[in-house]
C-alpha cells in the first residue's frame, strides 16, 4: 500500500497486468521512450521492452484497428489514444469494428481490448484536447465505458477492464492525473473493481448527486461546503462505469433522498446524464419530491482562455447553486 496519484495508479495497474499475463501489450503514440504525453507509461518500455510497449505512428485508426484484430486473435491489447478527442480519427474502428464484431458474428469471437484516453477539460488545452465524449461511446451497444474518479478506483477498474472480454473505453480525467490533492492509498498487486457497479462516495439524506470522473470530486467538495455552511446532507453517487450503468444504486439513493441532481462535464445537449434522468424518471418518479436537475458543460466547445473555460465547465459554485435549487432553497 502506498500513496499514488491517479496517473501512478493506472500505471501500476498496467504494470501488474503485464507482469501477470503475457498476452497483454500496449500500443500508442509516443508511449515508449517518451512515456506518453502525460508520462503515464514512463518506465514501462524499460521494464517490458519494445515488443510489448509498442510506439506507433500517428495513426489512430490503425492503432484501434490493430487492437481489435489482435484481441480477436488471442491477445489483450491496451491501446492508448493521446487525447480522447483523437478517437474521432479512428472512430470507424470503434463504432463499426470493435463494438459490432461479436454481434455481427452471431456471438462468435470476442474483442478483449482496452482503449485508454485522457479526457476532459480544465487544463487549458482548448477545443481539440478537452472534450468529454462519453455519451457518444455509451450510445454504441457493444462498448463498455469506464470513468474513474479516484486513484484507488482507477487501478481496480483498469485491471477489470483488461480482463473484460469486451472492448472497454477507459476515459481518464487529465485534471486528476497528477494532482496530489487526489492522491490515495492504493494497494500493491492485483485487485479489481467490477464494471457496472457504482459506489456511494458520500452518504447523505437530503439529495442524491450522481456523477462520474472528476465531477465526483467537485461534487464531494460542494457537498462538504454545503454541509458546513447549511447542514445540507448530500449523497454523492459515483457511477464509475457509464456503460453498463448501475441504475440500481442510483434508484436506491433517489428513493431514499427523493431528489436527484446529475453533474457532468460534457455539453448538456444529448448528454449521458440525460439518460440517467430519463431512467430515474421512468422507474422512480413516484419517489421524487422535486424536478431533477442536470449541471453540465455549456453547449459549446471547450474554450482555451482560462476564464472562458471556467465559464463553460461546471464549477463547485454551479453545483452548490444546483443543489440549493433542487432543495428549493435558492
Amino acid at each position: 500500500m502506498s500513496e499514488l496519484t491517479y496517473l501512478e495508479a493506472i500505471r501500476d495497474g498496467i504494470r501488474e497486468v503485464m507482469k501477470e499475463d503475457e498476452n497483454v501489450f500496449m500500443l500508442g503514440e509516443d508511449i515508449g521512450i517518451h512515456g506518453g504525453s502525460f508520462s503515464l507509461s514512463s518506465g514501462l518500455l524499460a521494464e517490458f521492452g519494445p515488443e510489448r510497449i509498442r510506439d506507433t505512428p500517428i495513426s489512430e485508426a490503425v492503432i484501434i484497428g490493430a487492437a481489435v484484430g489482435s484481441a480477436l486473435t488471442g491477445m489483450r491489447p491496451i491501446a492508448e489514444i493521446m487525447f480522447s478527442d483523437f478517437i474521432g480519427c479512428g472512430m470507424d474502428q470503434v463504432l463499426n469494428q470493435a463494438a459490432k464484431v461479436r454481434y455481427m458474428f452471431g456471438g462468435k469471437g470476442s474483442v478483449p481490448m482496452v482503449l485508454r484516453a485522457p479526457t476532459g477539460g480544465g487544463s487549458g488545452f482548448g477545443p481539440h484536447h478537452s472534450q468529454s465524449l462519453e455519451a457518444i461511446f455509451a450510445a454504441i451497444p457493444g462498448l463498455k465505458v469506464v470513468m474513474p474518479s479516484c486513484a484507488y478506483d482507477a487501478k481496480g477498474l483498469f485491471i477489470s477492464s483488461v480482463y473484460d472480454n469486451n472492448p472497454v473505453i477507459f476515459l481518464e480525467h487529465k485534471y486528476l492525473y497528477k494532482n496530489k490533492k487526489y492522491a490515495q492509498e492504493v494497494p500493491a498487486g492485483i485487485y479489481t473493481i467490477p464494471l457496472g457497479k457504482g459506489e456511494i462516495k458520500r452518504a447523505g439524506k437530503d439529495i442524491s448527486i450522481v456523477a462520474s470522473s472528476y465531477m465526483v470530486q467537485k461534487s464531494l467538495e460542494a457537498a462538504e461546503i454545503l454541509y458546513k455552511e447549511k447542514q445540507i446532507d448530500c449523497e454523492v453517487v459515483d457511477i464509475r462505469t457509464i456503460r453498463p450503468l448501475d441504475i440500481d444504486i442510483i434508484l436506491e439513493s433517489v428513493k431514499k433522498t427523493g431528489k436527484l441532481m446529475c453533474v457532468e462535464e460534457a455539453c448538456s445537449f444529448g448528454s449521458f446524464m440525460g439518460e440517467v434522468i430519463t431512467q430515474v424518471t421512468e422507474k422512480a418518479f413516484d419517489f421524487m419530491d422535486a424536478p431533477p436537475l442536470r449541471i453540465a458543460g455549456k453547449d459549446c466547445p471547450v474554450p482555451y482562455s482560462a476564464i472562458l473555460e471556467q465559464e463553460m465547465l461546471p464549477s463547485i459554485d454551479k453545483i452548490k447553486d444546483g443543489i440549493l435549487k433542487v432543495l428549493g432553497k435558492s
Binding site: V62, G65, G74, Q97, Y103, M104, G106, P141
Partner: protein
C-alpha cells in the same frame, strides 16, 4: 493458359517470372492432381453459390443487399489455396468467395444470406458480415477498408506469439483511397508484419472506375510509399494467383514484412442488387467474360491432360447440385428466435 488482353494494364503470365526482379517459382506444377482439380471445384462452387444468391435477390428473399463475386473467383481460390488452414484472412463486402474457399459450410452461409437463425451470424450479420472463426476467417466487412486495421492486429498476434502464420487481407480497388489503407500499410511495413494485402481490382468502386479515382496505372505501385514488395498480376488466372501468393506467403513467414498484390479482375454483375450499370458498356463486360477465370482454368486443365471435358462437366454438375441443396437447406431453415435480437452484444 491463354493471355488476358483486356485493358493495357493487364499483365501476362510469362512476364511474372521477371516481374520487378521477383523469382517467382512455379509451385503450382508440383501440386497433387487432386488439389488442382479441387481448385476448379471451388471456383464452380463459388460461381453457382453466387448465381443462387442472385436468384434469391430476384425472388425478394434477400432482405437488403448482397454483392456478387462472379468473375473474380480465381483471386480467392488461388490466394487461399496458397496459404495454410491456420493462417487468417480478412475479407470485404464482396466476400462469399473467400468464405467458401477458406472452408465454410455453404449451407450455413446460404442460411445467413436469407436471414435464418442457423446462419453463420444467426441472421444478425447477413451477406456483408459472414465470419467464421473456426476457419480463421475474420469476416466480411460492410465498411470499405474496414478489415485493414483488424488484419494488422491479427498479423501482430502472429508476431507477438512468435507463430509463423500469415494473414491475407482482401481489399477492393476503391479501398486504396481510404485513410485506413495508408495507416494500415504503413504500420504493417514499419513492424514488418506477416501480412499479404491482396487487392482485387475489379475496375470499379460501385460506379466509379478506378482510373477516374486514382492517378496511377497499377495500384501495386503504392508499395513504393511503404518500402515493401508488390506486384500486379492477372487475377483471372488462378495459377498465377496461386504462384504469386505462395511466393509472398513464404517471404512473409520468413519475416520480410507485408506485400501488396493487385489482382486484375472484373465483376460480371453490377455492384449490388440495384445497379443499372450506366458506367460501363456491354462490350466491355463481354470482353472480360471471354477471360472468365473458370473457363480459362478448365481449358488449361483439359489441355494439360488433367481433366477430360466429361469430368469437367461432372464437376460443374456437382457444384450445381451442392448449391441447390444449400438453397433448399436455407429455405427450410428456421428464422431466428425473436429473443435473440439483443443477445451476443457483449461477451461474458
Amino acid at each position: 493458359m491463354k493471355e488476358c488482353k483486356v485493358r493495357e494494364c493487364v499483365l501476362i503470365k510469362e512476364k511474372l517470372t521477371d516481374l520487378s526482379g521477383y523469382k517467382i517459382a512455379d509451385r503450382y506444377s508440383g501440386l497433387a492432381k487432386e488439389v488442382k482439380i479441387e481448385m476448379l471445384k471451388k471456383m464452380y462452387q463459388i460461381r453457382y453459390f453466387e448465381n443462387e444468391a442472385e436468384q434469391f435477390i430476384l425472388k425478394g428473399m434477400i432482405y437488403g443487399t448482397c454483392h456478387l463475386y462472379i468473375g473474380e473467383e480465381a483471386n480467392a481460390v488461388g490466394a487461399i489455396n496458397a496459404i495454410r488452414k491456420d493462417d487468417w484472412i480478412a475479407s470485404h463486402h464482396r466476400g462469399h468467395g473467400h468464405c467458401i474457399t477458406k472452408g465454410s459450410d455453404i449451407n450455413i452461409m446460404m442460411a445467413e444470406l436469407i436471414g435464418k437463425g442457423n446462419g453463420y451470424c444467426k441472421g444478425k450479420g447477413g451477406s456483408m458480415h459472414i465470419a467464421d472463426m473456426d476457419t480463421n476467417n475474420l469476416g466480411a466487412n460492410g465498411i470499405v477498408g474496414g478489415g485493414m486495421g483488424v488484419a494488422v492486429g491479427a498479423a501482430l498476434t502472429n508476431k507477438l506469439k512468435k507463430k509463423d502464420g500469415v494473414v491475407i487481407c482482401f481489399i477492393g480497388d476503391a479501398s486504396t483511397n481510404t485513410g485506413i489503407f495508408h495507416e494500415s500499410l504503413n504500420l504493417a511495413s514499419v513492424w514488418k508484419l506477416p501480412l499479404i494485402y491482396y487487392c482485387e481490382n475489379n475496375q470499379y468502386g460501385m460506379s466509379t472506375a478506378i482510373k477516374n479515382s486514382t492517378n496511377i496505372k497499377n495500384l501495386s505501385e503504392r508499395k513504393a510509399s511503404y518500402g515493401i514488395e508488390g506486384v500486379t498480376i492477372d487475377g483471372n488466372n488462378v495459377v498465377d494467383v496461386y504462384n504469386v501468393v505462395s511466393y509472398f506467403a513464404q517471404e512473409c513467414r520468413a519475416g520480410k514484412g507485408p506485400v501488396l498484390i493487385e489482382g486484375l479482375t472484373y465483376r460480371h454483375r453490377g455492384h449490388s442488387r440495384h445497379d443499372q450499370q450506366f458506367y460501363r458498356t456491354k462490350d466491355e463486360v463481354e470482353q472480360w467474360k471471354e477471360h472468365d477465370p473458370i473457363k480459362r482454368y478448365q481449358e488449361f486443365l483439359i489441355e494439360s491432360g488433367l481433366l477430360t471435358a466429361d469430368e469437367a462437366q461432372k464437376i460443374e454438375n456437382e457444384a450445381i447440385a451442392d448449391i441447390k441443396a444449400a438453397a433448399v437447406f436455407a429455405e427450410n431453415s428456421p428464422y431466428p428466435d425473436l429473443k435473440e435480437v439483443d443477445t451476443d452484444v457483449y461477451a461474458d
